[in-house]
Symmetry: C2
Subunit: 302 residues, 2 copies
């Protein structure tokens, strides 16, 4: 069976007249009759009750007509669908996320992309930093979101800084430190510090915080890890300690929590990167990166 059979069938069903249907299809009537006969043979049942004076759909024909029309419509849409996919307006895009904390960045970026490319299905998978390169190469993911860049492979991958935000101290509104306008790393080092537990590779929030202090020669005596960022928030709100988070988090903190800038010379910047294969010609990836780039520019400007 071919779509031609369905096209011819639909034409006859609509005109209920072989000659006029043939005319509409720009073929001769015998050719049309033959195709209908072939279709009926393939179905194993008559589709039209016909004699030289009247043509009527049988029950089988009536049932087939709906389905045939649906199929023809979908088939007609295929080329446009392929073109849309080629231009990255449709398809599937899988992001790998290895950053323990991304703040509001990821939801906002996904929402912006969704608004611009509503037909694209975006999947987000959690993936360890070390496995990102492999996943990017194998096609498991097309874009990675990381808080720190791996060394080397500069030729193979391209990246874009999507978040750049100073760290801030976070504490409960009723915490003693909440009265000062600014705090220093020294102040924080003597507090009960909380951080999200590191992953198998020893990366993540806890590692970053340790490094911050280590760079200033500080070793906080009380340093405790919790299993998730939501646990961390709850414990900070419960005055069980304080923490340090990227400033981009400020928007999302509940009313119980306050943030303070940290007095700190030099590097205290939290950075998020998007990474993707340089040679990947996928328009899907280009479109996503384009959305990221626009957002980055806009936020830096505003």
């Amino acid at each position: 069976m071919e779509l031609r059979h369905l096209r011819y069938f639909a034409a006859v069903a609509e005109t209920l007249n072989f000659r006029r249907a043939a005319e509409r299809l720009r073929v001769a009537q015998p050719a049309l009759s033959k195709q209908i006969r072939d279709l009926e043979h393939a179905c194993g049942t008559r589709l039209f009750d016909r004699n030289t004076k009247r043509v009527r759909l049988t029950d089988a024909g009536t049932a087939l007509l709906d389905e045939a029309r649906a199929l023809l419509t979908r088939a007609e849409a295929l080329p446009q669908l392929a073109r849309d996919a080629a231009q990255g307006r449709r398809g599937r895009l899988t992001l790998g996320n290895s950053a323990a904390l991304t703040g509001g960045f990821l939801p906002a970026a996904l929402a912006a992309f969704q608004a611009r490319f509503p037909e694209v299905e975006v999947n987000l998978v959690e993936i360890r930093l070390r496995q990102q390169q492999k996943a990017l190469r194998s096609g498991g993911i097309q874009i990675g979101i990381v808080a720190e860049l791996s060394d080397g492979e500069g030729d193979e991958f391209e990246c874009l800084r999507v978040v750049r935000s100073p760290f801030v101290a976070v504490m409960a509104r009723r915490h003693p430190l909440a009265r000062s306008r600014r705090v220093s790393l020294h102040d924080l080092a003597s507090q009960r510090l909380l951080a999200v537990a590191p992953d198998q590779d020893g990366r993540g929030h806890a590692a970053v915080l340790r490094e911050l202090f280590q760079n200033r020669g500080l070793r906080p005596p009380y340093f405790r890890t919790v299993d998730s960022s939501s646990s961390l928030m709850a414990m900070v709100a419960g005055i069980q300690g304080v923490s340090i988070l990227p400033g981009v988090y400020e928007d999302r903190l509940a009313g119980e929590l306050v943030t303070k800038p940290i007095d700190m010379a030099g590097e205290n910047t939290f950075t998020l990167w998007a990474v993707w294969q340089k040679k990947d010609p996928s328009q899907l990836v280009r479109n996503f990166v384009e959305v990221l780039r626009k957002r980055t520019v806009r936020r830096n400007a505003g």
Copy 2:
């Protein structure tokens, strides 16, 4: 574009090898290459990234594959669908109902048919008795449900008695008449009688009741019509009067109401008929009638 293109495309997409795909399709490789080229031309975009060593789906190809598979599956199901329709296992069946009261018969019959032929979509339309013949001829309905048969046209239509039930008196549990074991038409004639209002043709419940009394030379002095059967039930339950209904209704009466057999010689039988065109070859109609017939036999036997 033809289904052949999609079949060939799917084969290549699955093997990612033109020669093996061609082998599976039992065509020569050059023929396959040509069809793929034609499909790509029709889509206006490449579907495969290919060289002499590797074949990979492009984004457009990936998107097309899902849709192509879906289309092919549906297309393959068409012949079976047509055969199902030819055998009355699928399609649309429209029933015309002109009987004011059908009791539990119609829901039960529809449910039985639905259980036996789940793929058939049954529509039920209210239609006046006088317009049934026209609707049956024009194909507006395929089967009519009537409480009285029209005269003549015995050659054109066939009918089946689907309900045959004596009339019973209906009253509230606290109604004085509810204490007797049986009632007579004479008893009822002196009561406040309620009936569902007749339609434009003067048919329906009220007409039938009037006739019942008239046949015995009775003219009930208090005879009131209400607009629907549910209003009637409510008013009877509210001890505003009594009524006479087909016995098949007994099952559906609420706890407030009781029924009594009526002492009455001769005809006091409520009858429902199914009517359909004798010449209608539709297997759908035959199947429905067959279900009705089985139910009738079973109920007469049980």
